[in-house]
């Protein structure tokens, strides 16, 4: 039984953008104005590219732009990339996400892949250096603009993410107990997205299935690995509080268009993304695995949906 939450599609998209606020705020506190500049660049690019493609496809531009889906994808991508990445990284990524991730499939509702993650994967594969260099300290607006528009060198201000650093150190033969595996900034950002996600569940904009299954998948695999050898595998709580975990659990894996829609299917889908994220983090070549895990599972959605149909009344 349900009460209608009486939100239309535009309001849903807007609510999701608002819910990102806490996590974005936390990122701002630690990384500074770069976060804001990236989000602004991404939003402008999304609106321009989406408008251009809608008019090429002879579709109503204003109605589709105002549904907010392009802006949402842009914001998700912008907060996934380093706040000091050069301006063309985010512009290229968003353009790729909108064109190849969404419009070429027929626009909103027809894309099999999560556009933001498609854009992210494209950037990570093409520009690995720019995509893994994170701000080491708070940057004010002019510093951020200098860095993003390539007006000054970034070396002094940058560093790798915790997941990346741990991976490198482990490869050098170090063991977990010798490393600093905690990151205050990332923990706070993850908490921010977690709270935003809980808000979405409370507003009935997303259901609990995908986030819970996602986190369960991560917990199961990371605990198993930790149990096998606690010297080379990160404990479960670090997996949950590092990288894009909560953003992925509540905002990315739950993208309704590219996710499974049946209750049982959502559990399977979320769980397997969680499993894949840890597997890619631990055994893969990239420090974080959200984008690839989500894209891989996007492909399985038709299959999952078909085999997890609920029992129909009277059958």
């Amino acid at each position: 039984m349900m009460h209608s939450n009486a939100l239309n599609t535009n309001q849903i998209m807007r609510q999701v953008i608002y819910a990102l606020g806490l996590g974005v705020g936390a990122a701002y506190v630690f990384f500074g104005w770069g976060v804001v500049v990236q989000i602004t660049l991404a939003m402008v690019t999304a609106v321009v590219v989406e408008s251009a493609f809608l008019s090429l496809r002879k579709r109503p531009v204003k109605a589709s732009i105002s549904d907010g889906s392009a802006v949402l994808s842009a914001v998700l991508l912008a907060i996934s990339i380093p706040s000091i990445a050069p301006w063309w990284v985010v512009v290229l990524g968003v353009a790729f996400a909108i064109i190849f991730g969404k419009q070429l499939y027929g626009g909103l509702g027809n894309n099999p892949f999560n556009p933001a993650m498609l854009g992210y994967a494209f950037l990570l594969v093409s520009y690995p250096l720019q995509m893994t260099t994170w701000a080491g300290e708070f940057l004010n607006l002019s510093q951020a603009i200098d860095v993003i528009f390539n007006l000054s060198s970034i070396d002094a201000l940058s560093g790798a993410t915790q997941l990346d650093a741990v991976k490198t150190q482990l490869a050098l033969g170090k063991i977990i107990s010798e490393l600093d595996v905690n990151s205050i900034s990332q923990a706070w950002i993850n908490v921010g997205f977690l709270l935003g996600g809980l808000y979405l569940i409370a507003r009935r904009i997303i259901t609990w299935h995908i986030p819970v299954a996602f986190i369960a998948g991560m917990v199961v695999v990371s605990s198993m690995l930790y149990f096998v050898d606690e010297q080379i595998y990160l404990p479960m709580q670090n997996h949950l509080m590092l990288g894009a975990t909560m953003l992925a659990a509540f905002f990315i894996a739950t993208d309704p268009v590219s996710a499974s829609t049946t209750p049982k299917g959502r559990l399977i889908y979320g769980f397997l993304i969680g499993v894949l994220v840890v597997v890619i983090r631990v055994f893969g070549g990239y420090p974080d695995g959200v984008a690839f895990a989500v894209l891989l599972m996007n492909m399985t959605v038709p299959l999952i949906d078909y085999y997890t149909q609920p029992k129909v009344f009277g059958k």
Partner: protein, 502 residues
Amino acid sequence: MLNRSFNGGVVIDNPHPVDTVEIIPAPLPDKVVLPLQQRIGDEAIPCVEVGDHVLTGQMVAKTEDHFSVPIHASISGTVVTIDDQFVPHKSGLKSKCITIESDGKDQWIKHTGCGTDFLHCDKTTMIEYIQASGIVGMGGAGFPAHAKLEGIQDCHTLIINGTECEPGIMCDYALMQHHPREVIRGVEILLHICGAQRAIIAVEDDKQEAINSLLMYCHNDRISIVKIPTKYTSGAEKLLVKALLDIEIPSGGFAIDIGVVCQNVATTKAIFDAVIDNKPLVSRIVTVTGSGIESPNNYEVRLGASFEHIVSMASPNTNQHDVRMGGMMMGVDVEDTTAPICKITNCIFVNDAVEKPKTQECIRCGQCNQACPVDLLPQQLYWYAKSENTDKAMDYNLADCIECRCCDYVCPSHIPLAEYFSFAKALHRKTTEEQYRTDVARERFEFREYRLERNKTERAKMMAAKKEELKKKMANDKAQKDKIAAAMARVKKTKKAKNDAQ
């Protein structure tokens, strides 16, 4: 109070609540329009002619089809036309109707039924009375009441549907509150006909007054009154049975398959009138409500009176209106308010005309599958219905959709999902029919090919056999000939020997 229910459904607040539920008798209309085509079955055949004088309750059209009921004059007066008129149907098409102009006297025909001591009547007579009185399901489905009651073998439970089905409608509420005696007696009659052990009258928990009235008149311990939670689609037969008895009617089956008979309360009251007095169904209670109505209420009105006839009584405002017959969810829009009130018109919604929200793309949010009371996946069905892939839609159990529009109601993109589904169902019927026809044609063709081929090979075989036979015969013949020749030679020889001897 019942806690158990079915999955899904939506809670919709009554958009136009009222303090007291009344039944206001509407004045006799000046004329009535009686459609000959009913919800199902063949069109009825008029048995009066233009110019005839008819009495209230007199049969004006009869039917030979088992799934229809006769049609009665709902006022006394003169038949003025028998022609095509607008009827309240979603097609918006005209249909053949008998129009009667009132003489203002409302003179009734004589009618006598089983009387109050109905238990001495046999079931067949009662069912005949019910059919002859023109009773169909008054909850909106319009299924002939007698057809549900005939040939019942094992019925353990009779369910009387007093749930009102959709928010805003209150005609059944009013009926239960103001005619509890007739309803309870009607239930007893139905118990007698069905042979059921018990009857359950299901009433939604926001209709306390109705429950109180019924309890006051219910002294039969085989009849219980059960309160059920107010949520939309609990009035649907399958879901009501599930909520009350926790039994699912099998997909494609009927209530009677699991030993249950369902009737609506208004139908039950009409059955009471039919059996006790053999009084034909000539009027019904109609709710008039909506944002364009100042004081929503119920009107007891003669069948065939125009929508306007009672809408004007409910003080509508002067705005532009959208008029709808039935509920806000499953009703049909009526373009022309001169259309007649018929047996299934439980409610008339008069809403201020508003622009409908624009449809957007489906974002697969899944709100629809949470709302679906029969546990379908409307967003998948929509995907396949839109691309006219009806086979795949049938795979996703399209046939089980009850078109309740819960999915439409919760859809954030305002997609008219149920419309797509009814379209896809129609398309599927058509393609299966076509498929069947092409299959038959292909089979015929293939059989012809096979037959020709078979004839050919059989012929060849036969020829070969004949040839063989002939050969054998010829061979035989040769042997015979040789024998004859040998005999002849012997004869010749002996003759020669004889001659030589002579």
